[in-house]
Amino acid sequence: MLFTNAKYVLNRILHGIPIILAIVVVNFFLIRLAPGDAAQVLAGESGAATAEYMDQIRKQFGLDQPLWIQFLNYMKNLLVFDLGYSFRHGRTIASLIIERLGATAILMGASMVLSIGLGVILGAIAAVRDRTFLSHVIVILAIVTYATPLFWVGLMLIIVFALNLGWFPTSGYETIGATLTSFDHMLDVLHHLVLPAISLSFFYMALYTRLMRASMLETLGQDYIKTARAKGLSGSRIVMAHALRNAIIPVLTMAGVQVSAMLGGSVIIESVFGWPGLGLLAYEALFSRDLNLLLGIFFLSSILVVVTNAVVDVIYTLVDPRIRLNGGRHE
């Protein structure tokens, strides 16, 4: 079983390579549709620049070459996993991304756990207590959160919990200048994580709540739930042992699809909270026309999506014995 799964994931990732390459090609050309280049941004920041200076920069960065040469060079480097060099940061793209990857992984991991966990629980409660005051409250809450923009949630949380109540820091990843032991450092990061993670998970929590509620209502109407009731099982046992697992499958599907969307959402949240992750890096890269860096981040995201989809497929088989990895489904 474990071996089959590992083999399957590897297979899926190999099949994902052409997809990732296609994404790289499209990104490479799309991104150059944006007006301006790194030379203009650098020149603009230096205050005054002559045409010669800009030409010099372009030559140095290779921006004077025809587009297709630039493309071939990029692809050639990519084949040996050389993502290039950020002139803006004066470092290799790979080292930049690796440095920031951790922060984004922590933020996304926390948000996924929070949104799926709460979404499943709230959705299940709303379905089990259908047509009660509690379920109405949950449904309305979900609709409101679903319709609220991410950045606004972030700003409001900062105003209330950071500025007014002072419970959490307004921004950042850790307390600057503090020399902490590793355990205290972890607590410090967690303390900084609370608000951005809640902000990012809000929308997805609403999404999963609605989905879970609908799925749970459908499941509770199934014949096997009646069989379980006819056995004399208690209501909680029926929900926990029979309904929940069957109802969670559509939520899993959606969560798999939403991983990439969440990465997009983290760009906004990281900007709002000054969270030093890939999203913030991408945001900065966009405005400084650091195209190599931007492409590097896109490259990583596409890999992430391919891997996540493969992993979700494996999780399916663990939840539902009818689904088999070689593509068949029993009925």
């Binding site: 069989t227 056995k231 029979h242 697992r245 014995p321």
Partner: protein, 337 residues
Amino acid sequence: MKSAVPILQVEGLRTEFRNKRNGWFPVVDKVNFHLSAGETLAIVGESGCGKSMLAHSLMQLLPSRISRLAGGIIRLGDHDLAKLSDTEMRQVRGKEISMVFQEPMTSLNPLMKVGRQIEESILEHDHCSAKEARKRSIELLDMVGIPEPMARADQYPFQLSGGMRQRIVIAIALACRPKVLIADEPTTALDVTIQAQVLELIDRLKSEIDMGVILITHDLGVVAEWAQRVMVMYAGRKVEEAEVETFFSGPSHPYSQALLSSVPRPDALIGEAKMSQLTEIPGTVPPMDQLGPGCAFAHRCSRRTEGCLAVIPPLLTLPSGTSVACIHAEEFAHDRH
């Protein structure tokens, strides 16, 4: 085969549903019957006549928001099920009274091994060890005629055929050796050869466990073969109850007669249906929330008279022992003989 003391006694059972237009209205009304250990009582009637509602009322598996048990006694052993609280009813359900459903393909949880689904019932009611429950579930699989019960216990429902799944559902229902088994059209979804096997299985286990079986069906062939008594329902009421031999030699209620003459009978058993053409019953069962005064069957009945529309006919007991709810039953019986 029949023991004198009934294990289940139902008196004046009334179940109501609610809709927006009419408020509460009965779907089962004034139903009386009894069931003895080792006996099979068939309940027949068209779709919508209240058979399934009756079964769900006995099990108290009705949707609580839109339905209620509005009266009557359901005496099972020492309990009156109609008076039990939800928690008390849970302890009876699956232990003293069990049910087998119509759709074996959807009656089992697709994500749980079948052995586990049987053990669950045993653990709930008999509070034994997991090991003991496992042992008993395998015995049950063996008892319902599933080959290689050890291996099958670890399979999921999708790995079993429809007939096998219905055997699993039966094993679940019998896990705690109930006094009464309600089989709600247990073979409707199965093909004919499997139907016979499943009914034979239920009949054999009935003697083994010494339970009473309520067999809900619309297949009169099944009734003739497997039941000792038959109860005909129409619009939520009992319209006729008779011994099977008496019933097939000539049912007393016009509705029963119509049912019987609308079934093809290659064996041409007995009675009026012999050699006669197949007939259909015109019209359909009236919606339960729109019943007028008088006999609910009157508007479809070929022998309707003025009197039929005035009052709901009471149950009469004929000399043959049959009880029938038709004001003309005695004349008809007289005409026939």
